[in-house]
């Protein structure tokens, strides 16, 4: 399992290779890439800025992955999330799951992304032409 909450993400191909080689049984890898949208509520987005509880974020991320791995019988998973300023069009978050077959990979990925957004102590501030607000 690989988790990271940092200013930079690892290259996505590296993460895919990491999961691919985690076991001979891997038959499917599903990937989610979160990207900064250029428009929000009809206004132009300038950037997003992410803050995390540094001691807790990686630990909660790991716990959530462990839960989802066990529930869906995943072989392995990885999740990385940026902190600091992220410009429009840039990647915010990578979530990857590896399983024997595609069905559990699809379902696990949906749940994992939802839980990361809901449970990991990371917050974003949106900067638009209209102003700045926490989301």
């Amino acid at each position: 399992m690989k988790v990271k909450v940092d200013r930079e993400l690892d290259p996505l191909p590296t993460l895919i290779e990491h999961l691919k080689h985690s076991s001979d049984e891997v038959g499917a890898i599903a990937v989610f890439v979160g990207v900064v949208r250029g428009v929000s509520d009809g206004g132009k987005v300038l950037k997003l800025s992410y803050e995390a509880h540094e001691a807790l974020a990686s630990r909660v991320l790991k716990d959530v992955i462990e839960d989802v791995k066990e529930k869906y019988g995943l072989i392995d998973a990885a999740a990385e999330h940026r902190i600091g300023d992220v410009s429009v069009g840039e990647d915010i978050m990578y979530v990857l799951v590896a399983s024997k077959h595609r069905d559990e990979a699809y379902n696990a990925l949906i749940e994992l992304v939802d839980r990361i957004k809901r449970e990991v102590p990371i917050w974003k501030k949106e900067y638009t032409e209209k102003g700045v607000k926490w989301l």
């Binding site: 999330h81 978050m93 990361i116 957004k117 917050w123």
Partner: protein
């Protein structure tokens, strides 16, 4: 007296107007901490509590980097120099 540090994160920090405060408590109960925050923060404390006087749903509480479920805060016994973090609902991704 017990001295604990309370840290606020993200939108809570902006709304309360402080990243951290030090609080002196007569006892180590979480309730004692909440009462002290009510006095210290005045109206700004409304960001933390619902109308019923309980911590708002969705807030995350940790003590010394261990998350405490809101239903379990009564079991917390704070000690000298503990660090209590109050965090808003996550909004990552």
């Amino acid at each position: 007296m017990i001295k604990v540090k309370v840290r606020f994160y993200a939108s809570l920090r902006d709304e309360i107007g402080a990243g951290e405060v030090s609080v002196h408590l007569n006892d180590g109960s979480f309730n004692s901490l909440m009462n002290s925050l009510r006095v210290l923060l005045g109206d700004r404390v409304n960001r933390l509590f619902s109308e019923g006087g309980v911590l708002r749903n969705g807030l995350i509480v940790s003590v010394n980097n261990t998350i405490i479920h809101l239903s379990k805060t009564r079991e917390v016994e704070l000690r000298e120099n503990d660090v209590v973090d109050l965090m808003p609902t996550p909004s990552g991704g």
